[in-house]
């Protein structure tokens, strides 16, 4: 047994000598590429790769390189991946994708002085007490508060039900601020339903919301469970307004999904694949050609992440020789002044690491996003 394993290890070691180009800025990253959260990690990896290829094509040579590793949505594996990319020579980190691994890696990166820009880990704990961890996505409280604002400001409903994933930091984080903000805005929370990652049956939650007479159901969750909730609500002839946040983006591109189920669903999102500006159209075209699926907001955030890191590096004069510790201080300074228009809007950063950009409300009509304020 031992001999076999040793032989396998030797083979792996030989294969492992990754080659890094000499003059390129090296960006490391990690996200779940296997396991139940793989969809998010793969989207980020794909979106980031497109940005890297674009930047290199424009420059005519390899100016940046990306090494994106699998972390299985597990803090332990994320630390391993982080160490692995630093061994490879990464000068900064684009990642991680999911919240709890990001908190673990963020703490390690803070200790080791490596700059980190996460495309999608949105909890405030990710950036709390760390001067070198920045976000491209909104923080969860920002989303919760913005949703409560929008619902009460546009008088969408007064009786609100919430269905959220209580085994997920993202979902719980948004719910907790939404709960506080809703009370201030005079929204009445008539039903709170929770579920966990393994839930397939949402009949109890949907029945609960229906029986409580909710006019609007707030879904601070990802699109996969949301698609099931929509299906089961339809089975019960229950048609309130469904209101979601950026995690809901992607629901229309689920293969085989009956888009009529999502008719009238509203969501606050910084990115929609149906936008008509050149940047989005090009990105969606390249992405669809290359990977065969429509990009979600994860891919868009990742694309912006790579551009932000590259722009800031150029501005701060970081080259392939700059040490990670030195790059970290330079990038922190550069990010304070950086203003960038990407797929997810125009972004600026403050010293906490949180991003400022405007979410837009969209509504799903005839299987496509329409600006909610325009209609």
């Amino acid at each position: 047994m031992k001999k076999l394993i040793i032989a396998a290890l030797c083979l792996a070691m030989i294969a492992m000598t990754a080659l890094a180009s000499a003059d390129a800025i090296k960006i490391g990253g990690s996200g779940p590429l296997t396991g139940p959260a793989a969809d998010y990690g793969i989207s980020v990896k794909n979106g980031a790769e497109i940005a890297v290829e674009e930047i290199n094509a424009k420059a005519g040579e390899t100016v940046i390189e990306l090494n994106f590793q699998d972390d299985e949505h597990d803090p332990e594996k994320a630390i391993n991946a982080f160490n692995d990319v630093l061994d490879w020579g990464a000068q900064m980190i684009a990642g991680t994708v999911t919240t709890s691994p990001c908190i673990a890696v963020g703490a390690q990166a803070f200790e080791d002085r490596v700059f980190m820009l996460t495309p999608s880990a949105s909890s405030v704990d990710v950036i709390a007490d760390k001067d070198n961890v920045y976000q491209v996505c909104f923080t969860d409280p920002a989303q919760g508060a913005a949703s409560a604002d929008y619902i009460s400001g546009h008088k969408l409903a007064t009786k609100v039900a919430v269905i959220y994933n209580n085994a997920d930091a993202y979902s719980t984080g948004i719910y907790q601020t939404f709960e506080g903000a809703a009370a201030e805005k005079g929204l009445e929370l008539v039903y709170i339903g929770t579920f966990t990652d393994d839930t397939t049956d949402f009949s109890v939650q949907v029945t609960g919301a229906k029986e409580a007479g909710a006019e609007l159901v707030f879904l601070p969750i990802y699109y996969t469970p949301a698609s099931m909730i929509l299906q089961q609500a339809k089975n019960m002839d229950y048609a309130p307004i469904f209101f979601g946040v950026d995690g809901l983006d992607g629901i229309l591109s689920i293969e085989g999904f009956d888009t009529s189920l999502a008719e009238g669903v509203m969501l606050l999102t910084p990115f929609s694949a149906d936008a008509t500006d050149d940047l989005t159209v090009n990105f969606v075209k390249t992405y669809t050609e290359k990977f065969g699926t429509v990009p979600s907001q994860f891919a868009a955030d990742a694309y912006d992440t790579v551009y932000a890191l590259y722009n800031a590096s150029v501005k701060a004069g970081i080259t392939a020789e700059t040490k990670a510790e030195e790059a970290c201080d330079k990038l922190i300074a550069a990010f304070q002044e950086l203003e960038m228009t990407g797929l997810t809007g125009t972004m600026t950063w403050d010293s906490t690491g949180a991003v400022t950009k405007t979410p837009t409300a969209v509504i799903i009509k005839d299987g496509a996003y329409v600006g909610a304020d325009v209609q």
Partner: protein
């Protein structure tokens, strides 16, 4: 010296030698960051594997919920350490860490007693499914626990409470902002403690009683052995050690969540035990080390990494249970012949 003593010394010697080699490599800067980062997890998984081997191999009860004890230990240990550090102002990391390990072991031990009482009444696969059920219950309950610290007092809440002060454990988001206290030296110490406890237990009168019950419960009962007592002894010892490993694990990352300690983790530890040889403590140590490092070494396969891991796992299982290879290997080690034959029969 008897053969048993030599065998025992060999196990200790192997661990100590590995520790010294690692320390020298770290001092010389010869160890990659990637490997250095895995040292503490390796220690944790060794302790988990050895302690599970006590339940599965020595006591003969298939447990599918070992990660549950790790979870209890991790959360209680982390809360203890953070309370000492932030609440009582203890600045010595070693004291905090040691207190965390003891607390983790204690709470996991209590959980072990509570779970052991119903579980050990059952047999075989029914016992296995009940341990699985308990593992899932622990995970589900941990998802609903909220603990906050205000000054030097701790507040506890269940299912979305409003707690004063700073949250230490925030339900499903788990514990965040945990100070990284675990050290490789402590990991090594914990492995040594585990080995001392488990190897001495196996060699003691109680250990022989436990194995007698495993081999034939009825025969053991008929000579007047208290079956429940001895089964409980093995089960709770195993839980305590898993709890300590959990505390060490929790304090190695700045965040832990209940979802880490799900069924998959229990299964992973079981894989270490079976691959290393059921009842073979040294085998557990080696298997835990190799299988923790293996997925990292497979990173070069990028997208195919986990696929290759699965194939390696199946091939190793097939190879180690192949009668031809088995005779070949036992031929190399004359002393092992009898034990290999015994395992085949089990």
């Amino acid at each position: 010296m008897s053969k048993k003593t030599i065998d025992k010394l060999l196990t200790f010697g192997m661990v100590i030698a590995a520790f010294i080699v690692c320390q020298v490599m770290i001092a010389n800067g010869a160890m990659s960051r990637s490997l250095r980062g895995q040292l503490i997890p390796i220690c944790v998984y060794i302790v988990m594997a050895v302690s599970l081997n006590l339940t599965v191999g020595i006591s003969g009860e298939l447990s599918l919920g070992h990660a549950g004890f790790m979870s209890v230990g991790a959360f209680s240990g982390v809360v203890m350490a953070m309370w000492l550090k932030n609440g009582l102002g203890v600045s010595n990391t070693l004291i905090c860490l040691s207190a965390a390990l003891v607390t983790g072991g204690l709470f996991a031990g209590i959980a072990g007693v509570l779970i052991g009482i119903p579980v050990l009444r059952l047999r075989g696969d029914y016992l296995a499914i009940v341990t699985l059920a308990f593992g899932e219950i622990i995970r589900n309950v941990m998802n609903c626990i909220y603990i906050s610290i205000e000054g030097s007092s701790l507040h506890f809440g269940f299912v979305n409470p409003k707690l004063p002060g700073k949250l230490l454990v925030n339900g499903p988001a788990g514990a965040t902002g945990v100070a990284k206290m675990s050290t490789f030296v402590m990991g090594f110490v914990l492995v040594m403690i585990t080995l001392l406890v488990v190897l001495n237990l196996i060699d003691s009168r109680s250990g022989r009683a436990i194995m007698a019950i495993r081999d034939s419960r009825i025969a053991a009962e008929s000579v007047g052995l208290n079956v429940t007592k001895y089964k409980m002894m093995a089960f709770v010892t195993s839980a305590v050690l898993a709890g300590m490993a959990g505390a060490l694990y929790g304090l190695n990352f700045s965040t832990i969540t209940a979802s880490k300690f799900k069924f998959d983790t229990s299964i992973l530890v079981l894989v270490f035990v079976v691959l290393g040889g059921i009842g073979n403590i040294r085998g557990s140590i080696i298997a835990a080390t190799l299988l923790t490092v293996l997925p990292e070494l497979l990173r070069a396969f990028s997208d195919y990494r986990m696929l290759v891991y699965a194939i390696v796992l199946i091939l190793v299982m097939l190879a180690t249970n192949n009668p031809t290879l088995r005779t070949f290997f036992s031929g190399l080690k004359p002393g092992k012949k009898s034990s290999a034959a015994k395992e085949g029969k089990q």
